[in-house]
């Protein structure tokens, strides 16, 4: 296999954002991601540079959305907030006096990163320290000294007490009225309406994907939009308003409008 050596490539440095994306599940929210990015600056966190950090976070979010990874809403809110912070850091501060300045906000973010870092480290140190039942052990037997002469001690913990009350209340409370939450999924009616408005000027075969709404943050809503648009297509085709085709399994679904029946294939 000499050829393998000949074609061996230099290792391509993987961007930090991509490495973090691989461990997205392991993060405990956006601040945790920011902290991981900040650690990449390899400086004392008290000297952290906020602007490059903001750029890195925005790049991270961009990549995630490009790869269609599911991001919790917090990540996007954080991105929006950081973009806002960045614009305020770059522009002269026009804010009235009663609002914190951009510098103050940046300092505060740096404080929060340091504080979270300190708490994460403390947690690791606690776990790594001397732990009962792992590093040290207590007396294995509580000696029964026979014929106790003292008063009776009833044993129960606070947890027992709270748990008892909690389950009692959930057992005996009147059942809550049935509430069905308003769904945020994409309705077929809305998809029909959208398509009706758009397919009219589309005599050529066009991928259905072109008609899908863009920029839906929530992956679940995004998937429901695909489903409802497909259902809407079937309905429009049944009504003889459009033609549908698909070259093979899993290929792109294409549609075109059928105007006055004249162009029907």
């Amino acid at each position: 296999m000499a050829a393998a050596h000949a074609f061996q490539e230099d290792p391509v440095p993987v961007p930090v954002e991509d490495r973090l994306l691989l461990q997205l599940d392991a993060f405990e929210g956006p601040i945790d991601v920011l902290l991981a990015l900040a650690r990449e600056q390899k400086v004392d966190l008290t000297k952290i540079r906020i602007l490059p950090l903001v750029d890195q976070y925005l790049a991270f979010i961009q990549r995630a959305r490009h790869l269609r990874l599911e991001l919790a809403a917090d990540y996007l809110v954080m991105a929006a907030w950081l973009a806002f912070l960045k614009s305020r850091l770059l522009l002269p501060d026009p804010q009235p006096d009663d609002e914190p300045s951009a510098t103050e906000l940046a300092e505060h973010l740096a404080f929060q990163l340091q504080r979270l870092e300190a708490m994460q480290r403390a947690g690791v140190q606690l776990l790594a320290g001397t732990r009962l039942d792992h590093d040290v052990f207590a007396r294995g037997v509580v000696e029964d000294l026979e014929t106790p002469v003292g008063p009776v001690l009833y044993e129960a913990t606070l947890y027992d007490l709270l748990k008892a009350y909690g389950s009692l209340r959930s057992r005996t409370a009147a059942p809550p009225p049935l509430t069905i939450a308003a769904t945020r999924l994409y309705a077929v009616e809305d998809a029909l309406e959208r398509l009706r408005q758009r397919f009219g000027n589309c005599p050529d075969w066009t991928d259905l994907e072109q008609f899908l709404p863009h920029g839906i943050a929530d992956a679940m809503v995004s998937r429901s939009a695909v489903a409802s648009h497909f259902a809407a297509c079937l309905e429009l085709a049944r009504d003889g308003l459009i033609d549908l085709r698909q070259a093979r399994h899993f290929a792109a679904i294409q549609i075109r409008s059928r105007q006055g029946g004249g162009e029907s294939a």
């Binding site: 052990f137 207590a138 007396r139 294995g140 037997v141 000696e143 000294l145 026979e146 014929t147 106790p148 002469v149 003292g150 008063p151 009776v152 001690l153 009833y154 044993e155 129960a156 913990t157 606070l158 027992d160 007490l161 709270l162 748990k163 008892a164 009350y165 909690g166 389950s167 009692l168 209340r169 959930s170 057992r171 005996t172 409370a173 059942p175 809550p176 009225p177 049935l178 509430t179 069905i180 939450a181 308003a182 769904t183 945020r184």
Partner: protein, 195 residues
């Protein structure tokens, strides 16, 4: 006086073990070059006059407090007793609703209280009668005691987490029912102040 590693290990092993430990088990923990019996003999000699003794029962070894200390140790020694579910539930209801009557406790639990339930709580020193409700029959009102707070590590009754806190901490069991994947507004259950 120096102590060997083996002696320290056997000392810790016997201390932490819930059951007396067999000689073979002790020997397994030691290097083949060391005689477990010798280690045990040395330990036994060390503890001979102390408050704790190394004892052998059927080829198994354990530490036990010295017999002559029994009376002094037993003094004021308490007898531990597990609290039953009915007792802890009644106690929780009294703590959250005090002062409250027996009938109210039964109403909340949905079943009658057994004979000894409140007696046990009284014996534990966790509850006390606090007057009577001014209604026909003048039922006794029950309330918790300072000993109750002390036992459960509370500084005041106010420390008891409310329903919302219990829910947030995961202590309120979810009722079987309709839960949707989407956010459902949590229904505000019960205000606790109904007495």
């Amino acid at each position: 006086m120096t102590i060997s590693f083996e002696e320290r290990l056997v000392e810790a092993l016997l201390f932490a073990s819930a059951e007396p430990v067999a000689l073979s088990e002790i020997a397994d923990r030691l290097s083949d070059l060391v005689d477990a019996r010798e280690v045990l003999a040395s330990l036994a000699a060390h503890y001979q006059d102390r408050g704790v003794q190394l004892v052998e029962r059927d080829g198994r070894y354990a530490f036990r407090t010295a017999q002559d200390l029994g009376p002094a140790l037993r003094q004021g020694r308490v007898q531990a007793r597990k609290v039953t579910r009915a007792q802890i539930e009644a106690l929780a209801i009294i703590a959250y609703h005090e002062p409250t009557t027996r009938a109210e406790i039964e109403e909340i639990r949905g079943v009658a209280l057994g004979k000894g339930t409140l007696d046990a709580l009284l014996e534990a020193g966790w509850i006390r009668p606090r007057g009577r409700r001014q209604v026909p029959g003048r039922p006794v009102l029950w309330a918790t005691t300072p000993a109750f707070l002390d036992h459960f590590g509370l500084t005041s009754r106010d420390d008891l987490p409310g329903i919302e806190d219990l829910k947030a901490a995961g202590l309120l069991e979810r009722r079987a029912g309709v839960t949707l994947a989407m956010r459902v507004e949590e229904v505000d259950e019960a205000d606790e102040s109904d007495a």
